[in-house]
Symmetry: C2
Subunit: 507 residues, 2 copies
């Protein structure tokens, strides 16, 4: 590499790391706000975060950064593979950021903040009418936002691409068509059976004991606690400040003592991904997970495919019983396994089981596309929601609080581009797990002995370490030898729930 | 006010708030580092904080900010009192920041970071020689730094002025001359008496119970917990992120169960000051305490004059006994009061009692001025330290760990400008308390009934609310009717310790 190219690369990295530092600082302020901040800090904190965002955006769209990217990009043949990836990703980020004027971003943020506040009140009051105009405004803003990225086939394509690079509405719809019939049929068959008794989950276990158990499992799974920590929040999340500081949070529910545990394992999956990104990418735009869908696959793989498996609990359930004899002493492993996997016609997405979960996602995706494309008027959303619920899940919400007001997504940001990642994650989790088993068939037996190293290291090597150096489709094809497809996921569900319910669920 | 002046003022405030937000973000990152950050986060966190500092410094020294200050300053007759104060303080900050080149600041920071690391090792190894060269470098850097602020009478004057505006080496020395003889004489007389038995403080009390007691007292004193919180750190501190978020921390010691308590009350004094600054100053350069010395006076007033008074404990000691019967059930209020105020020939500043504490400060101040002025060579510091200790406090450290390596100050920043604030704070605390009693003689009786509102509201009105709108000397003269002087402090010590030890300590 020539002296000058090296200098320009180093100038580029300095600028990129500065932007990263500002965003990481914003993430610390946000984490603090969710975990420890006294109530009185809210107003100034919002302004402080906005200031950091604004300065980060200015620096991320600085013309000098563009010139550096142009100059280096013209010499990309002389770059190492990793530097070439850095320049490719940095250019993608730069172009995306520069397509949207800063004052539009500020206007959109203000609009989303108002809409969020209105939603909080409307949801508490079960008053969809009070937030309908905000939702209309969000649709308009989403249209205006997407238009900066024209041309596209579908108005939501730019939003999907921002989260799941390489995906489009058409591809997401094709994936959904592949899985919906089997899911709808399975829910129908399973819910005709008598429901499982879940009362064993409504036990009093102290929050600190729950935290300790979750943390011990996370530790064994491979979450490095020298580079992370677990706190309590209203909504669980994972956040990365650096390679050396990736934190997770969990929540607690009185009516399900295992909720905190599965939230912890879910976030641990996210955290393993971030902790597993190659150290030398830290601080650069390559130093994080490659897409929302791939990220979600890591969370779902550990939460569901591992964490809700019989093998996992054949090892951990005796430990759970030992720690919480009053809560679980009288419940058998079989009963416990059944209850944590019970399939129900559920109203609430975040409480849904593995079979119904994606049905919740698909109807949201369909509705947001319909609203964006003008086929569904906001005034008709509550009714359309109820109709979809009855059609796909077979249950009808009696109010909008548990209906179209239940999720914050539409009311707190652009209208689309977020729900699809959850289903991509579920589908991909099974595809990745299958690929890992092909190479290392002993993984299920390792898990049943409390040993997660084989699976984790396979994921680290095939998925985690690349960070954003590989785009999502490249990661998927490299790790599994195939493009994203639903067959492994459908086979996984069929196998697991046929066995659990003593049925033969159709293909 | 003309339309244009109003616009320019608003542009000024926008820039100042942006700098404030960056610094507040840095403070959150620093707080997190001390309280919750996993070990692995240290390296990136240092870089993130440096990035925030660098950008804040760039924005604080931006020529456009100078032009705004010039333009508005030329029209200061048209400004409200508070806006005039804002422009005065902002100009002072701007000029100070602009006198020092950014690359010097970066070089000094790097040098201080190295020196701090060397000191940590040298202190652990009791090896002064290993850090002597770093100390020499810090002296040189301090010289170079001060020179940017020439002319001055004494090389340390710019450093003192930065912490305690309006004070000089000459004035600090005059204050010290006023109090040293009485302190030296008192220590001599008191320590000839048989020592008090402090074994009642070495009791096991759980950290969470200690925290809860400290927090209950802080709450009663008036620390608003909707706008604050208490955490555990190695070294206690108070930090302000905004008017709505002022946090404190405390430490725990096995050999003194009251240490966490008095640290909490000390930091509560700092926090009451920050929470008491007028809300409308928040986010501007006026929105914090006016100087280090005035800040320290608030901490010392609550910690010592209130928190170590007989009246205070006549209310709280029964509560302490009720909460910790095993630790304090057998100790009388009189014995407890004596022990928490016992005077000893101490080696360690941070453990020193009210009588010896300032002697520790004065010798440090003398030594740092001697080193800066070239009268004392770094190689001779350990011996000079021992000689001063014997002369003033009557005890000699057997190693440098408890001698000239005990405090981080000289090894982690510029060489002077920090120790004097502690003594100014002690002296001023008594002067302010006297002034409060003149107006509201019932305060001691209120305190003895667990009621702190009268004292706190007087301090809020006379000191806290002004923030930096009044410089320190103006605050002192407005609140007490006099310039800073030592007589009330000496009278306070004489009265308290004559009574405690049954002596008649000389004037």
């Amino acid at each position: 590499m020539s002296q000058t190219l090296e200098q320009q690369l180093s100038a580029l990295k300095e600028r990129l790391i500065e932007v990263n530092d500002l965003r990481s600082a914003g993430a610390v302020l946000s984490w603090d706000q969710s975990t420890h901040m006294p109530r009185g800090g809210a107003e100034a904190r919002a302004r402080q975060r906005a200031t950091l965002s604004r300065i980060a955006h200015q620096k991320a769209t600085d013309a000098e950064l563009g010139h550096l990217l142009d100059w280096i990009g013209a010499r990309s043949a002389d770059l190492s593979e990793i530097d070439a990836a850095l320049v490719r990703v940095a250019r993608r980020d730069f172009e995306k950021a520069n397509k949207v004027p800063a004052d539009f971003v500020a206007r959109a943020s203000a609009c989303h903040a108002q809409s969020y506040a209105a939603w909080s009140r409307a949801r508490a009051d079960d008053d969809f009418g009070a937030v309908a105009d905000h939702l209309r405004a969000n649709i308009d803003i989403t249209h205006a936002y997407a238009t900066y990225f024209a041309p596209f086939e579908n108005i939501a394509d730019p939003l999907i691409d921002a989260a799941d690079e390489g995906m489009t509405v058409r591809q997401v719809q094709a994936l959904f068509r592949e899985i919906r019939p089997a899911l709808v049929a399975s829910v129908k068959v399973i819910t005709e059976l008598p429901p499982l008794d879940a009362s064993c989950l409504k036990k009093a276990v102290s929050e600190s004991d729950q935290l300790a158990f979750g943390l011990d499992v996370a530790d064994r799974v491979g979450y490095d606690l020298e580079r992370g920590r677990l706190d309590k929040t209203l909504h669980p999340f994972c956040t990365r400040f650096s390679a050396g500081d990736v934190r997770i949070t969990t929540r607690f529910r009185e009516d399900d003592v295992t909720d905190a545990f599965f939230s912890t394992v879910h976030e641990t999956g996210h955290a393993l991904y971030e902790q597993g990104v190659a150290r030398e990418l830290d601080g650069t735009p390559l130093g994080r997970g490659t897409s929302s869908g791939v990220h979600e696959s890591q969370a779902r793989l550990w939460e569901n495919i591992v964490g809700r498996s019989r093998g996992f609990w054949s090892y951990w359930y005796p430990e759970l019983q030992k720690r919480f004899p009053a809560a679980f002493g009288d419940t058998s492993l079989d009963a416990f396994y059944g209850v944590i996997n019970r399939v129900e016609r559920s109203l609430i997405r975040t409480d849904a089981d593995e079979v119904t979960y994606n049905l919740h996602i698909m109807m949201r995706f369909d509705l947001e596309i319909d609203m964006l494309e003008g086929r569904l008027d906001v005034a008709d959303l509550p009714e359309a929601w109820r109709a979809k619920m009855v059609e796909d899940i077979g249950v009808e919400p009696t109010d909008d609080r548990d209906g179209c007001l239940q999720d914050v997504h539409w009311y707190s940001g652009y209208m689309a581009g977020r729900f699809q990642s959850y289903t991509i994650g579920n589908v991909l989790a099974a595809q990745l797990y299958n690929a890992a088993l092909r190479e290392r068939p002993g993984i299920p037996s390792e898990i049943a002995h409390g040993d997660f190293d084989g699976l984790r290291e396979w994921l680290r090597r095939e998925v985690h370490m690349h960070g954003r150096a590989l785009p999502p489709n490249a990661v998927i094809e490299k790790a599994t030898g195939e493009a994203l497809h639903a067959a492994p996921y459908l086979a996984y569900l069929r196998g697991k729930f046929s066995e659990l319910y003593g049925l033969d669920l159709a293909e």
